[in-house]
Amino acid sequence: MTVNIRIYGMGGQGIITLAKLIGEAAVEDGKSAIMTEEYSPYVTGGWSTADLIISDHEIDYPLIENLDYLVTLSQEGLEKNLESIKMSSKLITEKSLVKVPDLYKKQAFEIPGIELAKSLNNPKGTNMVIMGAIGGVTKSFSKESGRAAISKRFPSFSEININCFDRGFEEVTRPG
Amino acid sequence: MSIEEVHPKSQFLRDERLPHIWCPGCGLGIVLQSYINAAEKSGIRLENHVLISGIGCTARLPGYANLDTYHTTHGRGIPFATGMKIANPDLKVTVISGDGDLFNIGGNHFIHAARRNMDLLVVCVNNFNYGMTGGQHGSTTPPSSLSSSTPYGNIEQSFNLPYLAAAIGASYVARWTVMHPRQFTKSLSKAMDIRGFAFVEVLSPCPPNFGKFNGFSDGFAEMEFYRKNSVVDNEAKLEDVSIDPHHGKQIILGEFVNKRRPSFIELEREVNRRAMVVEK
């Protein structure tokens, strides 16, 4: 199986870190992963985007052909990618920053990542909440490997980040 | 019985490469001899002396010295030497090159090496023009001088090298002429002992070019001019030591700066020691 995920956000939201952690987690699970990144030339306030392909097979071609999941933390990310969204694609958005048009409501997971991260006393942990949601929705990596990747990256802050990750995971997987 | 002629410094010279390429009346022979004398007196093992240059008449000097010598590209003697010194800090690395090489094409490297207090001795043989290419003007050509590229006189201000070096933070700064070989040699010896960036400027005639264009009949006349029109003032205000002979200004010589601040190699060693502890 191959899963194609595009993650879009503004500089400073931790998009690239989030994508790398997902890749690390998937590799830990024994899968192949490839990630290309693009960013505007501005250090702060610009956009950045990461394309992730996670597969059971070796990956040669790094470009996404069929977008399975669009994750966006900015309205711009949705608008820029409208053409790539198909009926079968799923959206994962930051609720407070992205207004999802009615047409896409049914295929969208609107995650209040900022709010949840704040409630867990980790206002910088929004990307960790989103990572949890991506894990829960795409099932492209296991919860255990996601946690392991986070504690490896943030050895001194692993607990508060894992809390955010778990909360995001729960947000999309709880029954009902 | 045959008499063999041997240069008294033969063991320090690559005899097989002599005679040298320099013109009659050039000061570079004096510079070479002064360097050798200084290296001998420096107390540093001769094999640890490395001589590096860029391109130009002066840059040919290392090729005649019987040491480990490196003749690099135009203007790049200092960064080449920087790499060598960091890689092999036991070496005493001297860069000896001309004013055009060190301050025109290589000026950026000079100011950065001085800023870093890089453990190098840089000797600039200043003949106020590009000798090897036929006497064009450069950043050290005094105002109003004639040269093969300033036929109406030089309209640019020239670099005041000791002031420049001191402003950036060189640990040792001196200026002499080739008519002051004893002081120059002593200065070189001292500079070889400096930890950090040491700079010695030495004024030298260029008879077929700068000399000819500016009214000196030969190299000796130019040397005599520098001797007669110079005064030694170690306490001189460096702002005032620019060279401007066409407007009657005296040439100020001396040992202007000799101060201690931590050198690049010392600071790097300290940082690397800490980093290796982190690794363990």
Partner: protein, 376 residues
């Protein structure tokens, strides 16, 4: 050293760690997108392994410093991108004429001039071959993955030592920033060529030898008393104006590579055995080309992929062999036609260029369409 294992990481990380495996102990560089992460990582890692790092004032100073450091006794490298690589050209020639081992990573980005710093290009390919003035025989590697960024950097250090000259790694912005799996084996699995040196000269202090392809370097500070010169020089390292010395020196510099070409040249082939059409692609473009070839094979088209891993020396012998049973070559590149020239010259076959404008990873469908057109 990086512990053995599996990593999800990018090309810049892999190149840095590969360099350390290869014995790099000195780095001088100047920040430039997209290779800055190599410089940053080196600034942290080199002091940890007993090496040395310095951020220089520009790229000219950087390459002069690594050539100086290598002559001082340490394996050295720098990393840059187009504009910086252009600035380094004169001193790449210095490294060649002084036979100084060193490694230069050039991560190609969109050009000319400043171009688009954050976007991919392959416009420096001819510059790696002909960029510095005079006759040179450079060795240039072209990694197409994170794994190769690691492996080829080790190899580049080995080649630099064996052939005593600067070795270029022509990577690109995508490979530098692409993250994928890097597998690092046990250190003993990697062959690392140690620097051979000559110390105190007993009588004969010739810096170079023109009758021997592989003469070790001398170490300054041991009483060798050698001269190393950017001017045309004889075996003593002494400058000469003599055209016969120039010829002797050049025949040595070019000959030591020419005579060992079969040991140096590396390439990879995919389904070339019965191919009537062969796609020649390198770097990131080779991955798009491979997908195009796979898809074309699914359609029953007899097409193959030839991927030069050493761009230079040019794999002339193999291209000539392949040309015997191939009617056409297709060369997709992220430029307006560079590597297509030697392919055409040596294959003497129809050679179709596909020009991908710098800025993006080539779309495999464009290559596939060209393959399909070749069979109609």
């Amino acid at each position: 050293m990086l512990p053995p294992g599996k990593y999800f990481t990018d090309g810049n990380f892999a190149a840095t760690e590969g360099a350390l495996y290869g014995g790099c102990r000195f780095f001088a560089g100047y920040p430039i997108t997209p290779s800055s992460e190599i410089l940053e990582r080196m600034s942290r890692r080199l002091p940890e392994v007993g090496g040395h790092f310095i951020e220089m004032e520009d790229e000219i100073a950087s390459i002069a410093a690594i050539i100086g450091a290598s002559n001082g006794g340490l394996k050295s490298m720098t990393a840059t991108s187009g504009p910086g690589f252009s600035l380094m050209q004169e001193n790449i020639g210095l490294g060649m004429i002084t036979e100084t081992p060193t490694v230069i990573i050039d991560e190609m980005r969109a050009g000319p001039s400043t171009g688009i710093p954050t976007r991919v290009g392959q416009g420096d390919v001819m510059q790696t071959r002909w960029g510095s003035h005079g006759d040179l025989a450079p060795i240039t590697y072209s990694p197409n993955s994170v794994q190769e960024s690691f492996d080829l950097t080790i190899l580049a250090f080995n080649s630099a030592e064996i052939y005593r000259q600067p070795v270029i790694i022509a990577s690109d912005q995508v490979i530098g920033h692409l993250s994928e799996i890097l597998t690092v084996g046990n250190p003993e699995e990697y062959e690392v060529i140690q620097r051979l040196t000559r110390k105190k000269a007993n009588g004969n202090h010739n810096t170079f030898s023109y009758s021997d392809d592989f003469i070790p370097m001398f170490v300054p500070g041991t009483g060798f008393r050698g001269n190393v010169d950017s001017l045309t020089h004889d075996e003593m390292g002494y400058p000469s104006n003599d055209a016969s010395v120039e010829r002797e020196m050049l025949e040595h510099l070019l000959g030591k590579i020419k005579r060992n070409e079969t040991k140096i040249i590396r390439f990879e082939e995919y389904m070339t055995d019965d191919a009537k059409v062969i796609v020649v692609a390198y770097g990131i473009t080779s991955r798009s080309a491979k997908k195009a070839v796979k898809n074309a094979r699914d359609e029953g088209l007899k097409v193959g992929l030839f991927r030069p891993i050493t761009l230079w020396p040019f794999p002339e012998g193999r291209i000539v062999e392949l040309a015997e049973k191939t009617r056409k070559f297709i060369v997709p590149e992220i430029n307006y036609g560079q590597y297509s020239h030697p392919v055409r010259e040596f294959s003497r076959r129809e050679t179709e260029e596909i020009h991908f404008p710098p800025g993006a990873i080539p779309d495999f469908k464009i290559i596939l369409r060209e393959i399909e057109r070749s069979f109609t």
